[in-house]
Symmetry: C2
Subunit: 348 residues, 2 copies
Amino acid sequence: MITPVPNPSGPGRKRPTIRDVARVAGVSYATVSRVLNGHDWVSPEAVRLVRDAIARTGYTANPHARSLATGRSGSIAFLLTEPQHLLFEDSNFAVLLRGVAQALSAREQTLILMIAATATERDRAVSYLSGGHVDGVLLVSPHSGDPLLGQLVRAEVPIVACGRVLGYEQVISSVAADDRSGARSAVEHLLAAGCRRIATITGPQDTSGGVDRLHGYTDALTAHGLAVEPARIAHADWSREGGETAMRALLDRAADLDAVFAASDALAAGALPVLREAGRHVPRDVRVVGFDDSGLAATLDPPLTTVRQPLERISEEMVRLLADITAGRNPLSITVPTTLVVRRSSPA
Amino acid sequence: MITPVPNPSGPGRKRPTIRDVARVAGVSYATVSRVLNGHDWVSPEAVRLVRDAIARTGYTANPHARSLATGRSGSIAFLLTEPQHLLFEDSNFAVLLRGVAQALSAREQTLILMIAATATERDRAVSYLSGGHVDGVLLVSPHSGDPLLGQLVRAEVPIVACGRVLGYEQVISSVAADDRSGARSAVEHLLAAGCRRIATITGPQDTSGGVDRLHGYTDALTAHGLAVEPARIAHADWSREGGETAMRALLDRAADLDAVFAASDALAAGALPVLREAGRHVPRDVRVVGFDDSGLAATLDPPLTTVRQPLERISEEMVRLLADITAGRNPLSITVPTTLVVRRSSPA
DNA sequence: GCGGAACATGTAACCGGTTACAGTGAGGGC
DNA sequence: GCCCTCACTGTAACCGGTTACATGTTCCGC
């Protein structure tokens, strides 16, 4: 039975502190702190008394006071440098965010979301993060040329990236899908279906996803003794519009293509309508495969064959790695396997 | 010219504090604090010295210490009770988040994202938020029956919701689109096109959006002397799947419909394929209008006529309102106008 | 020449936790 | 019976800011 201690109501009432709890429990405030943290010896009797007092007073710790004393903030930042990540084109990103939030919640940590799109926002973000105000930073598929990376590394903020950070492999831990072999399996799936003039729409070549997925494409072709035709490779950013433009370019200079491997679902989503307009039926005339298995893939017309990344797993690992770094360990980067999801855009 | 004070390097080096700055500047630490905050008198000379010292030491304030002293946290929580909000179906939500992040960044505030989907996460969220650890909470279209609302209100946490909170109109400030007249204009647009057997797919009736958009629908019909047929009204949650199910139900019991007003784009996105499968051409046989103008709308096939909410405006207003409440004012709730965006699913 | 504003700055207390260190009392070995 | 250890608890210092209050200065009017 819990008897709540009546506290003066009204907006001016003060929240109970560790001292209040101590008074109610009849112990010293240090003991309360010890019970709270658990890494020191306290008698079972004292634990009971304190637990009781906490329940009766409705005490919750003041995280700022705690952070001040420990030097650890209990919060990590999820840094977003491209706002379009947030948009529905990249629902991966949303899944990742969800996963990270869940993993952090389980560790009693807080998720600070920073969107650094404008120059002002970027400056503010860098100084906030470098200031040691968060325990670590999670980055999503950063571009290798981004000056922000250097600034954060120099400030020695613990960082974990989703996707390898080209040029920083040795200093920034990362969790990434096995892009290269994922892409290879996608292209091999097309080869198995009899396609021989396979084109690709790549992602930005300053991201590991962009580079590795292109590698996977060339891997598959050369393994089958096929030449890699530059005309069949179109570069794009990760956006749907990029996919559109690239697809038009491909139809222009490699009109005989019989399949397209797009390095992301968004790119594929941009490519599909262009193919339709050009009178190419998918999958009869041209087979299409994407990458990510974002929510988008299944709802496209036709539903898109794609390479699934285990995003829940990735987000968990990111949080775990960050915790490792914070704890002083120096964890290795991690690669997780992908799986091919076959849908109507390229039937088996 | 800034001469940086050489500080011992290596990971163990300590960040400069206000005392360090004071020493370098040759003033007391209180003066530094005053310069930092600006709401007390300091001589121009001292300001110069301190500014200089800050630049040279690379000082940034410790937000935890500040929060502890001031009692204000400088962070607000964006609380998400339905994780599907994050998914691409509801890109509104993403735009809203982006807008809020921007508005907060401008105010030097931090955005804490809390996803409270599971029971554990909800408990943790409530106790965290009630604990006075954030300056306020932003809620997205909460359901009126959610017990979380009562808990937060009782804890007297400043709250601003996007969308009126049914049953809490007097205690929770909100910013909302003018759902009712937006819906009415959508239906009037269909009436103007000659449709007379207009059905609707509504959102949940425990959200203001769900209720008001249905009201707008009936408003338009009755204003034109048309009866409101219950058979032409199908209820759904906000999801695409909900739209699918509801559309099937409508085709079942009101097969003669010549238009559908869906209370959200996601609902419309679910309805479109069902219509296609049923052999109803959009817009020839059935005209369709959605609500939100989410990123989804323009990319559907056919592109969707919809009611646009000024989400950037809404997010800004939410942050402004929250600041008002925190400052002790008691702001009114706000309604912002919508605009009809006509696309091919219901040509003019 | 002196009292009192007005201004500028320093001192000290405080916010609410954590934790090093000292102290207490019980129990065990001899 | 004494000493030492061990288990536990309390005191005090500290984290890095803010701010009430006290303490000079300077300048002015009279």
